[in-house]
Assembly symmetry: C3
Homo-oligomer: 354 residues x 3
């Protein structure tokens, strides 16, 4: 309880980075300063979006609340991605999707298993909900692998064909996502852990909605500043869009989930920890990806579903490894370390990749 309160205070203190990054932006500070300040500012805002959504859910009842959570849970990733697409950083957005998937599966789950497992023989968790998410991950993987294989094995497919393919596959992902909501919120809701907050509202409806709106708008402003700093940053450090997207943007966009999943794992509540880490991954794959594909057609550079071979290999490795580790319903510190080791390999390779 006390640790949670300290964490909440830390989050509030982090709000100082909002004015600081605005100041840095308007005084034309160095790109690295702007990037770091805007990143730090987004972390508490993402947390406030999450909290205010939960508060609103307490008034709407579990079904609509679950839907709200599922949608706003990825608001930060979506907003950063929109500004990146507008800036023409299409490859970086795809890299950040890849990074969110492997980050949630390898980094978050790795830290949750490692820190949660220290000093314990093993930690147990219910596998039914985790397995359903795992099969959603396989569908998402197929949805990401097949279009890329299509391009690899076709000779110069037309942009139109790639567009049709991306939209058709995105429609299938979106339908499957809607079905997964029906499954988890209606026909099989008993499989899913009830949230600990026990849905007792601490804030009024008005306060919740105000905080949600204010945080969302501020995240948008911060994201625009952040995205604006990426190109000069990449140039001055010699980093690639792949590396920035896959490692930094992915971690910033998922920071709130990172903190929750790990603190919850240390309290030995592994079911909820897994639900956050894996649930967040499937939402990115099945909800964020199709939304970005659809909406990107309003931008100059539409985003297709063609990931690079390197991204495919990273996603397939992460999905197979996590599937293998969670299926016995037990974890220990060494399994966490192995996930972290695999993440380390991905970081090294994406850093060196030209």
């Amino acid at each position: 309880m006390e640790k949670t309160k300290i964490l909440e205070k830390v989050f509030k203190v982090f709000l100082i980075f909002v004015p600081l990054s605005l100041f840095a932006e308007y005084t034309h500070s160095s790109p690295i300063a702007i990037f770091v300040l805007a990143s730090l500012a987004i972390i508490p805002l993402a947390k406030f979006i999450g909290e205010s959504t939960e508060e609103i859910s307490a008034y709407t009842g579990p079904a609509l609340g679950g839907l709200l959570n599922a949608t706003f849970g990825n608001a930060t990733e979506l907003i950063i991605s929109f500004f990146s697409l507008q800036a023409g950083l299409t490859e970086m957005v795809k890299a950040s999707i890849t990074g969110s998937i492997i980050g949630n599966l390898l980094l978050i789950l790795g830290m949750a298993f490692f820190f949660g497992g220290l000093g314990k023989d093993e930690q147990k968790f219910n596998t039914t909900a985790a397995k359903t998410s795992a099969s959603t991950l396989f569908l998402a993987t197929a949805a990401i692998v097949m279009p890329a294989v299509f391009v690899l094995t076709s000779e110069n497919p037309s942009a139109e064909t790639i567009e049709t393919l991306s939209i058709a596959v995105s429609v299938i992902m979106a339908v499957s996502y809607l079905a997964s909501l029906l499954f988890s919120l209606h026909t099989h809701k008993h499989l899913y852990t009830v949230d600990t907050s026990e849905c007792v509202a601490r804030w009024s409806v008005k306060k919740s909605v105000s905080i949600l709106l204010a945080s969302t708008v501020t995240v948008a402003v911060m994201s625009e500043i952040l995205v604006g700093s990426i190109e000069p940053l990449a140039e001055s450090f010699g980093w690639t869009e792949l590396f920035i997207g896959m490692i930094f943007i992915a971690i910033i966009g998922n920071a709130a989930e990172h903190v929750s999943a790990i603190t919850i794992a240390i309290k030995d509540r592994m079911d909820l920890s897994l639900q956050i880490a894996i649930g967040s991954t499937t939402q990115i794959a099945m909800f964020v990806v199709p939304v970005l594909v659809f909406t990107s057609y309003f931008f100059k550079n539409p985003m297709n579903l063609i990931f690079t071979t390197f991204e495919l290999a990273a996603i397939v490795s992460a999905v197979l490894m996590v599937k293998s580790i969670i299926e016995d319903g037990k974890s220990n510190w060494f399994e966490g370390l192995q996930l972290l080791g695999t993440y380390g390999i991905m970081v090294v390779v994406s850093f060196l990749h030209p």
Copy 2:
């Protein structure tokens, strides 16, 4: 019971398509008409081959009966493939093998889980036999992946080397198939569900053999007509051999299994439903494939074992996904939908593939 009777009547009514497709062929109707009529004619005939084989098994005892079933269960696919090889449609035959594998694993099993699971919390099945089949699928996958990787990583391997490779791998698959019969019919027959018909013969031996022979000959005639319509059909619609083979021919060749597996799943007899869907897949991979490789050397265009990268990706995705979904011995409608979604992705990609 009643539904089964209605289904049987529907099958008998479908026999009308035999004379209709003969008529269409000899009046030189449009290729699409010939293709559709011949396809519809093959469905009841495949069913009669299956039924007469089962009747004969009732007289021969389970061991020889199982062998007969295993052999004639794929008679339709084999006959269509023979005529296609004779017509030089080698790539289409390989696409139809790919399509049979992913069709059985994703489409049939997906529909069985989806329709079987509607309105139920979960459906359970015994995993021992399913798992043995799954490991056979991994062997089959390795047998299909390794020769393709060989060709991808060799610079212009000679036709002779590819022939040697195809035959050597086919011999290993055939030996493993014979061993699987020894396993399922002799040393570990207790693992396999006994068929519901309880082996009480309804037909005399003479009637059974006559129906078997008549159906097989008629399937052969229909297949020749069907195959003859493929090239003009492909031309007029702009479809590829890949698409026709992987989707249409695969569904026609396995239509009887499709209907059985789904009706049985709705009756909640999941063990038998899985046995049909997965057993049919392993039979295609381990029996039909080597038989086609061996016999194709009597045709002008021998069929090698080199599948395309696209086909490999489809097979590997399907095998890993089904493996992941069946291993907990439970299914629900959403898992079925995910299999169907993955199949949908394959259909889209194979349709757009040049």
Copy 3:
């Protein structure tokens, strides 16, 4: 008991090949004679290294003993690899690593399951330790796959970048290996089967150390002779470095483990059999590979971590197949045969590969 004694005598008789291969080497016999004699000489020596290490462990206590076993268990592979790297046979060393991984997983485990399972309905084993090893295999696979994908997807990466990548990934593998020792020898040692010898020393410390030193020196001499015969052998038979490394060198380097794992499986002690086969694989991937990468920088031709696509496909297939077969904690002869069939496919493909 009696069979074990006969086996021990056979091993002692095999020592005759030590002087024979020395004789063949100094009379400049044909390369095939030298290769076969040196190979046969290494088998009993590898066994003596293993036994003397176990004897020493009885004096040092289990923790240090486990460490000794883990290190000297791969002494033979390491020594052969050092001489091969010195001779510039870098590709052969990587092929022999691939061959050790697939040989342990498919050939040894296949023979253990096949011969162990004959005449039995099923053999059971504890899956906890096996599963932890399996997740180490996934990490090792990611460590082998990602650098290769890096090279495949970069345009002409510099030798320096590949060196940095190989060393960084090797460091991660080495750290994970040290963590696995901490896990298996300290925090979770209760998961691992205690060795049957029950740690009662039969030999004095002096005798054990003498035998260990003598065997290691003799293995080194034999390895130098063996490696010297490889190039002329490859030339006269038209064999590739890939084939010799992946099949022959891999089998010779792991012969002692082969014999132990199979004889133990026949005695129905599957836990220990799996521990040898899978433990040996993870040691090669996580200990031998980084040691070779690090030390190879003292040779003219440093060994990088870039395996060929063919080797990747072989390793990934083997890991996924074994993972699938062991996860239910049961085995039977047919599963063994399927592993052997998959190994057979690898042999055929590596033999025909140019």
